[in-house]
């Protein structure tokens, strides 16, 4: 019999993270530690998971997502109670590019939440994982990080940084039992992307994306594109010569 899993979800109230959590508790009761900024929302999610899996333990932790000292102490606290099987770092927000250009405060917030904060969390967990030589660390990036374009390059740059960072971590842990996974969802139908839907964009369902993620993480894939078609689309876009790319209205 395998021992009980201990899973940490950072940014647990996001639609994708919520769906992943549901899949994780579906078959086996585990311990799921939910980290988020809003306590009320965390409690609502915990209640949902509890109905789905009454034997799962679901402690919730409210955290500041920018303050390095706070992040360090929250992660230390989690490890004090035992090692972690898996961490999913899922938070992010999609600002309107135009507003980022007009308002540097928003621009900074987008970079802080989408790039800086996930890196700080990942680094804090990585240190502990290295000590015990065990654990899986999955971070949600985005296909937008593959090549920046005029309609969302602030977000794209932040997500691009996640990719470079994860690359480094993967290198660092290449000879250990610690696995580091980068997830790159395409546009997904969540509250975060309602304004894309408004512009008539077709998007993947959260169920599908979460299913791909949970499966990919279980298989220990290095990079997970979801839906898979994005691997090929972005492959093409990354390799377009700049004189063609720069003429495109995307």
């Amino acid at each position: 019999m395998t021992s009980r899993k201990r899973i940490v979800i950072v940014g647990a109230t996001s639609a994708i993270a919520r769906q992943c959590a549901r899949l994780w508790v579906k078959d086996h009761p585990s311990d799921i530690i939910l980290l988020g900024r809003n306590e009320e929302k965390l409690a609502i999610l915990a209640a949902d998971l509890k109905v789905r899996s009454p034997k799962t333990r679901i402690p919730c932790m409210q955290a500041d997502f920018i303050n390095p000292d706070h992040i360090q102490s929250v992660v230390n606290q989690i490890y004090q109670e035992g090692p972690v099987t898996m961490v999913l770092i899922a938070h992010g927000f999609l600002p309107l590019q135009k507003l980022c250009q007009e308002n540097l405060n928003l621009c900074r917030e987008a970079l802080a939440i989408n790039a800086l904060s996930p890196v700080l969390f990942a680094e804090a967990f990585a240190t502990h994982m290295q000590k015990v030589n065990k654990g899986t660390l999955a971070v949600i990036g985005s296909v937008a990080g593959d090549r920046s374009r005029k309609s969302n390059y602030v977000y794209g740059a932040a997500k691009g940084m996640i990719e470079r960072y994860v690359q480094g971590l993967q290198h660092r842990f290449s000879h250990s039992q610690v696995k580091v996974i980068l997830i790159k969802p395409g546009p997904t139908d969540t509250p975060m992307t309602t304004h894309l839907k408004e512009s008539g964009r077709k998007m993947a369902g959260v169920d599908r994306v979460a299913m791909d993620m949970v499966r990919g993480i279980a298989q220990g894939k290095r990079v997970i594109y979801t839906p898979r078609i994005w691997r090929f689309i972005m492959g093409g876009i990354r390799h377009l010569p700049y004189f063609i790319f720069n003429r495109m209205d995307i």
Partner: protein, 438 residues
């Protein structure tokens, strides 16, 4: 703006869509973006879920469970939870929704606001009969908690109220205990309408579920297949092979053909084939609940087979005493028109009214038919059917309707004047504008 269609795909007009993120903020969001209309899975066939050029509040993200009491079987959840999610979670624990319509891919909020029914109406009534409580946010910012015991007039207006009294955000449901996922079913071919009635009457005492498919093209005869079922009891369940409870293996109807694949020739072939094939396989068997309750969920987007123009569903209920003659007259009119449908369903409702002011189920016989949209030709048939249903003091189902005249709505739903008192002035749909003037 996003093009949105309902299940019948009769129109594909632009809407502004706003996703309701979570229940604590739903009220504010609704208030700030009103006027609008709640939209769940878009499985209403006609225009009950549409509000072209206006706002739709998407409810599918309100999909959290809140609490479940394993002793009493009471489940509290948000209104965007799918019936499928409830079934898949609860059946292995020995609980099930007491009422299941033909698809489980609909939200709890949609099931309440259309007061959906299933094959067991004569035993369990309709969906609204099993709601203990619900909360409704109004566009003026007020939240109303109501149920059969508490502010029951609001409850009666909301059950079957096609979303016009407010946005349902949470509900508390009473589930029913079941021994397992297995249903004991029996399929019996019949060749006369009178045979169907007799079978239905005879089966109601012994069997929980009854329904019939009818070949509406068969001349002079009403041949079809009568299906009945009951839950398998605990002892018998033990003999069944344990089987994992996975979602039904389904596939997507991949393309939209330029014209309807349902035409006179294909229909005749299909109906004949279906009847004879099923007749061969008739008799008793043990079935899993999913294919028994939700046969159509196997093919996602099956409504695409009707092509770009979409299709109508016509579902009526007429009182029991005149039911036989009325149904015969309707089938005759359909047969003469050479229009017809694959999915012709005949069922008797039990002796209870929907508790909703605009609820559809009532004692009598209900007939549901799909018709490809052939424009004026189809409407001509509907006018004939309308006349027959009206004369019999019957009504049409709002969840299916896209075209009934206002006068027919008013005679079919005599409580609509009471209902109007509870409408939310900030909510309006194509259906409400067509049938209620606003």
């Amino acid at each position: 703006m996003v093009a949105v269609h309902s299940w019948g795909r009769l129109s594909n007009q632009e809407h502004r869509v706003t996703m309701l993120g979570d229940r604590s903020q739903a009220g504010t969001c609704v208030k700030n973006t009103a006027p609008g209309l709640a939209y769940g899975m878009g499985c209403s066939y006609g225009d009950a879920c549409l509000n072209p050029q206006g706002t739709l509040w998407l409810t599918t993200n309100l999909n959290r469970f809140i609490a479940f009491d394993g002793k009493s079987g009471r489940l509290r959840c948000e209104a965007g939870v799918l019936l499928r999610d409830i079934q898949q979670l609860m059946v292995p624990r020995g609980w099930m929704l007491p009422v299941s319509p033909g698809t489980q891919l609909i939200t709890v909020g949609g099931a309440i606001s259309n007061d959906v029914h299933g094959k067991n109406h004569h035993v369990e009534g309709s969906f609204g009969d099993h709601i203990i409580k619900l909360s409704l946010v109004r566009t003026d910012g007020e939240t109303i908690h109501c149920g059969p015991e508490e502010r029951s007039e609001w409850f009666a207006a909301t059950v079957g109220g096609v979303g016009l009294t407010g946005v349902i955000t949470t509900a508390e449901l009473q589930l029913r205990p079941v021994a397992g996922p297995w249903i004991h079913t029996e399929t019996i071919p019949y060749r006369q309408l009178s045979e169907f009635i007799e079978l239905a009457d005879r089966s109601e005492a012994q069997w929980e579920y009854t329904v019939a498919w009818i070949d509406c093209l068969a001349k002079n005869k009403a041949r079809g297949l009568f299906t009945r079922g009951s839950h398998v009891h605990e002892k018998e369940c033990a003999n069944e092979k344990p089987r994992a409870l996975t979602p039904i293996r389904s596939f997507n109807f991949p393309v939209m053909p330029p014209f309807s694949m349902v035409n006179r020739l294909s229909l005749r072939l299909f109906n004949m084939g279906y009847y004879h094939l099923k007749k061969l396989k008739s008799g008793e068997k043990i079935s899993h609940y999913e294919p028994f309750f939700y046969p159509l969920d196997k093919i996602h987007n099956w409504s695409r087979m009707y092509g770009r123009k979409g299709f109508f569903q016509y579902q009526s209920v007429v009182p029991r005493d005149s039911g036989y003659d009325v149904t015969r007259a309707m089938l005759k009119a359909i047969s003469q028109s050479h229009e017809g449908s694959f999915l012709a369903i005949l069922k008797t409702f039990g002796n209870r009214q929907s508790l909703g002011m605009l609820g559809f189920p009532a004692p009598g016989i209900t007939l549901a038919l799909d018709f490809p949209n052939h424009g004026a030709r189809t409407e001509k048939l509907f006018k004939r059917l309308d006349a027959i249903v009206r004369e019999a003091k019957g009504r049409l189902y709002l969840a299916k309707d896209a075209r009934m005249p206002r006068a027919m709505f008013e005679t079919g739903y005599p409580k609509f004047h009471d209902f109007m008192l509870y409408r939310d002035p900030g909510i309006s749909s194509s259906l409400s504008r067509r049938l209620m003037g606003s």
